[in-house]
């Protein structure tokens, strides 16, 4: 193919997910010619999460996003933790009202990715991006110096040239590995396999079962304890408009070593005496699974090289404890796009020029939080009692506290205290709390 027949864009974005479409929106609005390449039948076909999206990130990328009618399910008006005990108990630690009662722009919306990502990519198209679906990027085109100058796709004559490529390929970051930016593949001990059922129920049934006044109210909870058989993992429940999403993530090395079938573990969770009445009579709409890269800071690839930047799950931008990832992806996509726009102004796409991308991430919560939480992934590996002993203790302690046994409270409190020290020696429990503080605060 001669030079003037080459397909050329000002920028190529690989993957129309949270990060990719955000990047394409910003690039398109700046008047750059951008190709947004998506391997699915449409944007969203391959994308998966719990889940809820944070509005701060959407607003930062697309300030008028609410006027564009995003396909949200419900705002999150109640959030928190549920603790399941092995004997069938459920302790709820959730918050409603306060900040979560904000009606002008709620903090987060429960969302389903197939619909949302299609809409998100459409916003990129409306900003001027050229969406190329059903196309898998298989490799890069590089110049003699090794600088990326385009991508090879699996279409006939599918080479696409651009001076800057933003990789938003997701957790299976094989392209990032191909460039040597990620030195290793995903480590099973640092990845959670999340799996979920979307279960159809009438809206009124959902509202009644979850104590929600109407479909302008929604619940998002993390579920601890018996949900993952006491192994490192965490469950979740989200109320959609006419369905609920129930699932859990378990560390992949744990699933492999214990040889657990994810769908068995999920079914056990759904059969828990506190969960079963919530899903009773529902119809399974869709089952699915996705890996979450939870290695964070320590597993983060190099974020840029000549002609290329990496954003989102491909760059391990996940804060597992706070269920953050999509917001980091969107903002990283935007920052990569801004870096590409500046590089165009300078006419310089070298690694030195694109290094500004990392500076921008460092100025924001993204790299700051990931660095602070750099030890947290390992903390849960080495402190499995947070998945088992403590949730069970909290449940039985609370049940004791509110039960009238006809005995002096002094005796009861001694028993509750004894219950804890029986499950976990006191000094160890104190040590656990200190360790958790360190893992969260990044000391």
């Amino acid at each position: 193919m001669s030079d003037n027949e080459q397909i050329r864009f000002d920028a190529v974005v690989v993957g129309a997910g949270m990060a990719g479409s955000a990047a394409a929106i910003v690039l398109g609005k700046a008047g750059l010619n951008v190709a947004l390449i998506e391997r699915g039948q449409k944007a969203g076909s391959k994308n998966y999460f719990g889940g809820a999206l944070y509005t701060h990130a959407l607003k930062e990328v697309l300030p008028d996003f609410m006027d564009r009618k995003p396909p949200f399910e419900r705002p999150v008006t109640e959030a928190g933790f549920w603790f399941l005990s092995r004997d069938g108990g459920l302790m709820k630690a959730t918050i409603e009202g306060g900040k979560l009662a904000e009606t002008e722009l709620p903090d987060a919306y429960i969302t389903m990715r197939a619909a949302f990502d299609a809409w998100w990519a459409k916003q990129a198209q409306e900003a001027g991006a050229f969406l190329i679906p059903k196309t898998t990027v298989v490799d890069f085109i590089r110049d003699e110096q090794g600088q990326v100058i385009g991508v090879q796709t699996d279409r006939p004559q599918g080479d696409i040239y651009a001076p800057v490529v933003i990789i938003c390929e997701g957790v299976n970051n094989l392209l990032t590995q191909k460039l040597g930016l990620a030195r290793r593949d995903v480590e099973p001990a640092h990845a959670a396999l999340a799996f979920k059922q979307v279960i159809s129920l009438p809206m009124e049934t959902i509202n009644a079962r979850f104590g929600l006044p109407d479909d302008a109210h929604g619940l998002a909870v993390s579920v601890l304890g018996d949900v993952s058989l006491g192994l490192p993992g965490m469950g979740f429940v989200y109320t959609n408009k006419k369905s609920i999403s129930v699932g859990l993530g378990v560390m992949l090395d744990t699933l492999a070593e214990y040889r657990l079938r994810p769908y068995d573990v999920l079914q056990r969770y759904l059969q828990h005496p506190a969960i079963a009445p919530l899903v009773e009579g529902g119809q399974l709409l869709e089952y699915g699974a996705h890996l979450i890269p939870e290695g964070g800071w320590r597993d983060m690839p190099q974020l840029y090289a000549g002609g290329v930047m990496v954003a989102g799950d491909a760059a391990a931008m996940v804060n597992a404890l706070h269920w953050e990832g999509t917001n980091m992806a969107m903002i990283a996509g935007k920052l990569a796009a801004e870096t590409a726009i500046e590089a165009h102004k300078r006419g310089d796409f070298s690694a030195a020029s694109l290094a500004r991308y990392r500076d921008k991430l460092q100025d924001r919560f993204i790299l700051q939080d990931l660095k602070q939480y750099r030890n947290f992934a390992r903390f849960l590996e080495t402190h499995p009692q947070f998945m088992d002993v403590y949730p069970n203790f909290l449940n039985s302690a609370l049940a004791d506290f509110f039960s009238a046994y006809g005995k002096p409270k002094k005796v009861l409190f001694r028993e509750i205290f004894g219950e804890l020290t029986h499950r976990r020696p006191l000094l160890k429990a104190v040590g656990d709390m200190i360790s958790m503080g360190k893992a969260v605060m990044g000391w």
Binding site: D117, L255, P262
Partner: protein, 116 residues
């Protein structure tokens, strides 16, 4: 920490009473809810070397794959039902011998989540 690989892979057991609380789900009941565009010409998953699987004592892929792609055939060989794959990547990274070939399906093929 990293997962021990190769012959060093360590299988663990749940306490018997806890294990007994696990139901046994028929994976096809999950699969019928999924929509796929199946590439009839090319599998995007493959076993690199069946001799390695023969040596693999615990064969965790038979369990942890969330859609049961891997089964043991009557000939004792691992069979790969790539048509059911949801492209999560677990098998590629958690096979103790890294013996599973894994690429993305061709553009447009593979799982297509309706809800996600």
């Amino acid at each position: 920490m990293v997962m021990k690989t190769g012959d060093g892979f360590q299988a663990k057991e749940l306490p018997q009473d806890l294990k007994a609380t696990l139901p046994q789900v028929y994976v096809d009941d999950m699969l019928v809810t999924l929509k796929y565009f199946i590439d009839e010409e090319k599998s995007h998953l493959w076993i690199k070397d069946h001799d390695v699987c023969a040596r693999c004592q615990h064969k965790p892929c038979l369990y942890f794959c969330p859609v049961g792609v891997y089964t043991l055939g009557q000939d004792g060989k691992i069979q790969v039902a790539y048509q059911s794959c949801v492209e999560c990547g677990s098998c590629r990274v958690a096979c103790p011998y890294h013996n599973i070939g894994w690429i993305l399906p061709r553009g447009g093929f593979g799982v297509a989540y309706k809800f996600g």
